[in-house]
Subunit: 192 residues, 2 copies
């Protein structure tokens, strides 16, 4: 998606340890116009997939998921990290290991909000090692729900997540795939 | 706001310890249509306040803040909880004590995204003891930015936050103010 790639080139910065900082428009400060465009793009791809629910994980996925929800006209559910008193105990939960942080987080969704009837579009801002998305898929599996697609804003194509997700056979749309990055250059893979 | 009050009556549940569960439409599953209406309502109130930025805190405030941002045509910034590696060290931070959980969380905003020129609308889903909102105001104070309003979806009118916020002299709009609640009734205060 040209708009997103251009924005990454303009405002993204590369930090040591393969960290791409896009916090001026995506995951700390949010440019709602860009986010709306991302939501629309996911709709173009998955509009015929029979999506009944959009599932993401707090916090950075929420804005994009809501932007998409408006087109699909379905509810968003965001999985909560850690043990939230307010989620209750009747939850589907999955452990998500973060290679970047070296820690495991539990993500959980109340059983009330994902059911066997659901056709779920999983949305997230980043795809790196794929653990968050696989955790969300695991939650859908527990509920007997079908994952009909993964919608990702930025995929780090040089990490394993894309391969992992595509091996499930579920369609994956990454709006920008980074092939490589260094201090002074970011190269995109062709994602068409 | 009638729409929100009706929805709370229809789908909200009261749990022991003065917990109001609205996770079927506001802070776990999200009804994007309702959220859009909340955002529009904040715009009606604060459209002449010269808002340049909307500030909220992860995670539940993000959807409402984005819905409002579309009307104000300004960026959203969401404060991060805890110490996020990705926020960096150059931050404005404030400690927020949660009476409910009995713990203190640090919330932080990168110095890049709040400046002395900003006129900030603070938005959050809940107002109970007011510590989160006061923490966000504290961050704005550190940046030399002005808080021009507090926009709250649900205020627990029987807790101290509303008083605390209104004593600052900054306009507060709560779209639904709960005067009292028991297992089988929720009463609203007149917030017009």
């Amino acid at each position: 998606m040209k708009l997103l790639e251009e924005r990454i080139l303009k405002d993204g910065t590369v930090l040591p340890g393969n960290v791409l900082k896009v916090d001026s428009f995506l995951n700390h400060q949010i440019d709602y116009k860009l986010i709306k465009a991302l939501g629309e793009e996911f709709y173009k791809t998955f509009q015929s997939a029979g999506v009944t629910k959009i599932l993401t994980v707090e916090a950075s996925g929420i804005a994009i998921a809501c932007a998409a929800a408006e087109h699909f006209d379905v509810p968003v559910v965001f999985a909560k990290k850690g043990h939230h008193k307010n989620v209750g105990t009747d939850v589907y939960a999955a452990d998500v290991f973060s290679f970047t942080k070296g820690i495991t987080n539990t993500v959980a969704v109340s059983k009330k909000y994902i059911s066997a009837d659901d056709q779920v579009l999983v949305i997230d801002d980043f795809l790196a090692d794929g653990q968050a998305c696989m955790g969300l898929k695991n939650i859908c599996d527990q509920a007997g729900a079908s994952v009909v697609g993964f919608g990702i804003a930025i995929e780090k194509g040089f990490q394993n997540g894309g391969k992992l997700l595509r091996e499930t056979g579920i369609p994956v749309q990454s709006l920008a795939i980074i092939a490589s990055m260094t201090d002074d250059s970011i190269c995109f893979a062709d994602n068409n």
